[in-house]
Symmetry: C2
Subunit: 276 residues, 2 copies
């Protein structure tokens, strides 16, 4: 097991984790809470220039880890698949303006077709946007999603599948975001993290916890320590695979969003130091 984290130098928070906070509140409160970096969810940029927002975040002392989130490639019609590709290209442009080096891809799934078909379309969509990503100097990170989202959010549900996808589409601009909430249950996790690292594909690492009972499929994630994910063990695997980047706290939770968000940031910091 690795040592507990001694400071918050690697602590990144996803803006959606504190969804009620405005852009201005984030600018002041994240650095004050000792948070070092931010992953920007697209809605935070609504109505503002990505370039200016990026500048403001950096001036406030926050590194920008990534922009969330593109993907959603599968669809039953060619026209809709093309729309998704176009939208991903726009998102890559936005990341470049913002100064985010990475875009996270939630791959998508269309329940009207087989998973195999959705998987083929994810491959095609990723291949179609990669040239634009590389031209813009933006990396893409496929995020395998928990199998409970296979119906309508992602047909890529294990790290093995994401590793396979990266092997089939070899590009230094395509890699993987490992999120413990989606992958903790997988008996092959350690082995596939190793494989991911050896291939140079471990682009991002997201944490939260699996609290019990899960009361909502989407928005009931736990803060680190509230659930049963062996966070320190998984971090040890990720670090043994060569990962030294930010540890990103990504929590969707009605329960936590209902709290005072400034106090929640303090809880996040404490939980990070105690459990991550």
């Amino acid at each position: 097991m690795p040592e507990p984290l001694q400071d918050t130098r690697r602590l990144c928070v996803h803006s959606i984790t504190t969804r009620p906070l405005s852009f201005e509140e984030i600018l002041s409160s994240y650095p004050a809470a000792g948070i070092s970096a931010i992953t920007v969810w697209r809605q935070l940029l609504e109505g503002r220039s990505p370039a200016a927002a990026g500048r403001q975040l950096r001036e406030a002392g926050l590194e920008i880890t990534s922009l969330c989130r593109g993907g959603f490639f599968p669809a039953a019609t060619q026209a809709k698949r093309q729309q998704a590709i176009d939208e991903n290209r726009r998102l890559i442009d936005e990341a470049a303006e913002l100064g985010a080096p990475l875009v996270v891809l939630v791959c998508g799934a269309d329940p009207s077709q087989t998973l195999a078909e959705s998987r083929r379309q994810i491959m095609e969509g990723s291949a179609a946007v990669l040239p634009h990503a590389s031209a813009c100097g933006i990396k893409l990170a496929v995020e395998p999603l928990h199998p409970m989202y296979a119906g309508d959010r992602s047909a890529i549900n294990t790290l093995a599948q994401a590793n396979d996808l990266c092997q089939q589409l070899p590009s230094p601009w395509l890699g993987i975001a490992i999120d413990v909430y989606h992958l903790w249950w997988d008996p092959d996790l350690e082995r596939e993290i190793q494989r991911c690292g050896q291939a140079g594909k471990l682009f991002a690492y997201h944490i939260s916890d699996w609290k019990l009972p899960v009361e909502d499929l989407l928005n009931d994630r736990g803060l680190m320590g509230e659930g049963c994910i062996p966070l320190r063990q998984i971090r040890s695997w990720v670090e043994a695979a060569g990962f030294t980047g930010f540890i990103e706290v990504e929590i969707f939770s009605h329960r936590h969003w209902a709290k005072n968000q400034f106090e929640f940031l303090e809880e996040i910091k404490k939980a990070y130091l105690a459990h991550a």
Copy 2:
């Protein structure tokens, strides 16, 4: 793809699917709806002699496919693990009295320990009850559960894991129950079904559907045709693997339980013929 099913000779319904029905109502309504077999959930037997209940079910024309459910082996203390083993032995006795040839095992998981530890305890628990199962002539079917239940219901979450378990504990009395709700998302499903069949371990086949959105982790399963599981394709794999047994409808659903259950039985039959 196999042909649609032409009749209800292979149609089995789990008593929990029509949870509001009493034992007496099941005795009359299942056969009247053309249902050929029943999997008995233990609560249906509360306050009655299993032997007499079994006789009544058979006299009503229902074959008894299995008794649900044992397992839940992992626990943090030795005393609790022993309790689980004792309870499983009692359940095996009950199955023998009832005349059910098979007991389904939901393996269990204890969130206070790692999945690896829970998996070791599942192996130990299964090994501990197998001699009693074989002495009683009762088969045990490990049912891999969806990864969304890894926290507290089962640390066996893929068919590959269940196949591995059966390889590690070779016994003609230990096999697998394949439930599409738990396994449909798995990219290795076809291959692992083949492996399961070749090893002679495909003991049971459960169906339902994955409706969207899933509003409740436990009790929001869909009737066949209401969701996105490719039921006929999975049946083709199961049959190619040599399975010719009952096709068991196992649906936990507040939505369906709220209906008139006699009408629901008719819907089940129609959905079975149209989609299974």
